[in-house]
Symmetry: C2
Subunit: 520 residues, 2 copies
């Protein structure tokens, strides 16, 4: 034997989550300099929007990207007017991977993994060694607190390089973060911000690109969307071990209370039904259940008919709001329509799909798929996304749209938004939604619903066009028609002719007629 178990044992050790992602940063989306810059902006802006929404503040976000004198090194800063972050939490929010408030809540959020901004801090440190700068002010009555932070990757803990109260910091309230990283600036940053403004029409975003004029994405509404509420887990989405943990943690004294208090959509009647089917007493102490009992309880929970989870944990863009946003963004479009589907449930998690079409814009003759998850634009990994799969499964010809290899071939922009308390992303970089059959099916239905609206428009357009063509032909042969009718009816040619041309003018309008005259 070359090596014994004892020899092999020597090298074994724990890997911190920071070390893991340091080596696997492509999983976080930091696989090349262009994408890294987009990811940095995205993680910071997503955080700002989440914080403003939770605090009930209309967001105003300033994004600045500067190219530094070193080759491919950029400074990225994002400042918001949000609630700020309490000073004690700042080091871990920015300097520790897997830390946050959103991971354990069942509620629609932009962040959901507890990775987010700290991954940007990590990438910036790996590539330039520069600490991340954070300014935070939680009230106009308090000064701004300032931090410089690095991550101790072996321990996955923050290293505080500097901290102090400063006077010339945030204007009133809010958070500002500044990172220095190796990157490459491309238009994707602007695209990400433009589409963020589309799905968050209540946000004002001011963007300073490197070497270019500032761009302002104004808000098109002054009212914040209804805030998503946290819900309890739904019985259909619970696994064995989750149930064990809920039982061990509950304060309810009996099984009946446990079922009613720890789950959503469970009232007394449903709870009693579950107990009955599981052959367990509603009065049993939850902690007294044995493994066999928990198995029976879980089985019964899956079999009893239970109401859908409440949907106030979701916050869709809304049909009207999406339509208004699209009209503002594509003012020259020939046709725009949007729809919001009814909520669906996936493994106990509610989700909603929204879709919009923008047809016939002058900027592009090509098909463009604009994807969103929980109001965040998805810029990369289009090929791996459930939305793309749904697009390919649709028979576009049925909707009057040509296609090439399953993809529409028309001046068409298709917007799809999936929002859920838990979006299954294909990787930590959150750029594509995993193709779970229930989700793909619902996306398909949403696209078909909005495509039908487009099809009606297109077929109407085609009918109007055909009617116009008929009239034009009639016009072209007007004199001959007049002469024939005059001959058949024995009326005066001039009179018949005048009436015919009057009729045509009425039908297709004088201007168009003159145009037609010139062309023909």
């Amino acid at each position: 034997m070359k090596k014994t178990a004892e020899e092999l044992a020597k090298d074994i050790r724990e890997i911190s989550v920071s070390e893991f992602f340091e080596k696997n940063k492509h999983l976080l989306g930091f696989d090349n300099p262009v994408k890294a810059l987009v990811m940095a902006v995205k993680e910071a802006v997503d955080n700002s929007l989440d914080a403003c929404e939770e605090a009930g503040i209309l967001p105003e976000i300033v994004v600045k990207i500067k190219e530094l004198k070193e080759e491919n090194v950029y400074s990225v800063s994002v400042e918001d007017n949000g609630p700020g972050i309490v000073k004690e939490n700042i080091p871990r929010v920015f300097g520790k991977l897997l830390y946050g408030s959103k991971f354990h809540k069942i509620k629609q959020n932009r962040g959901q993994q507890g990775l987010g901004i700290s991954t940007t801090v990590l990438y910036s440190q790996l590539t330039t060694g520069t600490p991340t700068k954070i300014w935070s002010r939680t009230s106009p009555n308090k000064p701004t607190y300032y931090y410089e932070i690095l991550i101790d990757t072996k321990k996955n803990d923050p290293i505080i390089e500097k901290e102090e109260y400063i006077n010339n910091g945030i204007k009133e309230r809010g958070t500002k973060v500044e990172v220095t990283l190796v990157g490459k600036y491309r238009k994707q940053v602007e695209t990400y911000l433009k589409y963020t403004s589309l799905s968050n029409p209540f946000a004002r975003i001011i963007f300073y690109p490197p070497h270019e004029e500032r761009i302002v994405f104004e808000r098109s509404t002054n009212s914040l969307p209804k805030q998503a509420k946290e819900i309890k887990p739904h019985p259909y989405g619970v696994e064995f071990w989750t149930l064990v943990r809920l039982i061990s943690e509950t304060k309810s004294r009996n099984l009946l209370g446990f079922l009613i208090n720890e789950f959503c959509s469970v009232g007394e009647k449903t709870a009693r039904e579950i107990c009955k089917l599981a052959k367990l007493s509603p009065e049993a102490k939850p902690q007294s259940l044995e493994k066999k009992d928990v198995e029976k309880l879980l089985e019964a929970m899956q079999k009893v008919k239970i109401q859908r989870p409440p949907i106030d944990c979701l916050s869709p863009i809304g049909e009207e709001e999406l339509n208004r946003s699209l009209k503002r963004m594509f003012p020259d479009a020939e046709f725009i329509a949007s729809i919001t589907r009814e909520p669906e449930v996936y493994r106990g998690f509610p989700f909603i799909v929204e879709a919009g079409v923008v047809y016939g814009t002058k900027d592009s003759q090509e098909f463009e798929l604009i994807r969103f998850a929980n109001k965040v634009p998805l810029i990369y990994q289009q090929g791996a996304c459930a939305i793309t799969e749904a697009v390919k499964e649709i028979d576009w010809k049925r909707y009057g749209i040509e296609e090439i290899q399953g993809i529409p071939n028309a001046s068409l922009k298709l917007v799809v938004h999936v929002c859920s308390v838990w979006v299954p992303f294909v990787s930590e970089s959150k750029n594509a939604i995993a193709s779970y059959p229930e989700i793909v099916k619902e996306i398909k239905l949403a696209i078909q619903q909005v495509a039908r609206k487009l099809a009606i428009y297109l077929s109407g357009k085609r009918k109007a066009y055909q009617a116009k063509r008929r009239m034009e032909i009639f016009y072209r042969y007007g004199n001959e028609v007049a002469s024939s009718i005059s001959y058949l009816t024995e009326r005066k040619f001039d009179e018949v002719r005048r009436k015919i041309f009057e009729m045509i003018e009425k039908k297709i309008g004088k201007e168009k007629l003159e145009e037609t005259e010139k062309q023909s």
Copy 2:
């Protein structure tokens, strides 16, 4: 304001890596019951193969899958004849995510993330609550040690449910692991084992599927491949922060020694060149370098011409071995060829691509892509893989192969193996390789190289076929030809005719001629 920073701060907390993957288990490949069963077998078998190879033992692996009486619940056990695991390490190897010996080494391994088997333990616990059973024996002189383990997901630490020495355990030496999980058995498990045997021809694998006869994948060689060696990082693959860490940890007293000792491919000459370009003294104490100096050093390290990293850290299957494996697995194939490319380097990491073609088997008329990374078959996410991208980029018609939408349309199996000290997988489930341009390019070259061999065969086959057709036509009109020649040369018809048919028989063989006779 609806919520202040202080209110928002209350919910914030740390997320353990186990909790993270409990919620995101699809990232680990456990997104549906069929895949879960494949992943469980894969993680255990990969570990067994790694351990046997490291210990220099010819692997014999027994995989058993039993369906239990509960619906969709299976027990999966994998036993090997490897070196075993020392008793103290077992709880953390199986009961802690991000723990292992392979993560920090620059060396080709099946596992590389420190996730592996513990993710299977986690999934089994989540779905059935059953502890994982582990038997390990490190020497025939010692008894087997037995464990039952769960994971404390909040702490990401093992919970030992039971541990003891037992007498009737492992026969001589080795490890056995048994998990109970919610799954669904499909043929993919067998496919995974079959292809594992293809890429690891030195392993004997005995498989007991549920409700079916056992299947034995015999080894086709009795010699283990040359063991991969650990290397030091190459200067071209180092980032700023890695350099900072290497400097802080080095025992070398001066910069020259630091460069020579901590990196591969750096000798004294190269080290002096780097120092000169960075304008740093070779005698400088590494720890005395300031941030500016480290930046200059890193820049110089990227600019000086440095030899490629050594390639003994890699362990390809080998051209001959792959060919032999393919012949054994597809004995009825019309044509088989394999190639191993020269090593290439990607961000300082060496990698090798191998490819094989199997043409014209009777079992299937369809194209099949058989993907491997570090000798592990990749079963899922084919669409997201760099290998698939390379296949699509190839103009198959140039090689005499029809194609539909970029995919060959022929009775063709294409085998591609990428081995590296670090394979960039698109997710933790390690089912697809990320499409980095350098890697896609090299895969393409490998496929083209082996496709050329196939093209030569196919064009030869076509030529032979055309020659045969010519002869057959000659034969069909033999009597007429004979009569014409007899007339022209004034020789006897019978004599000419005999000579012509003798010639044809010689060219295409008597048997085939008779066959042709019957057909025509």
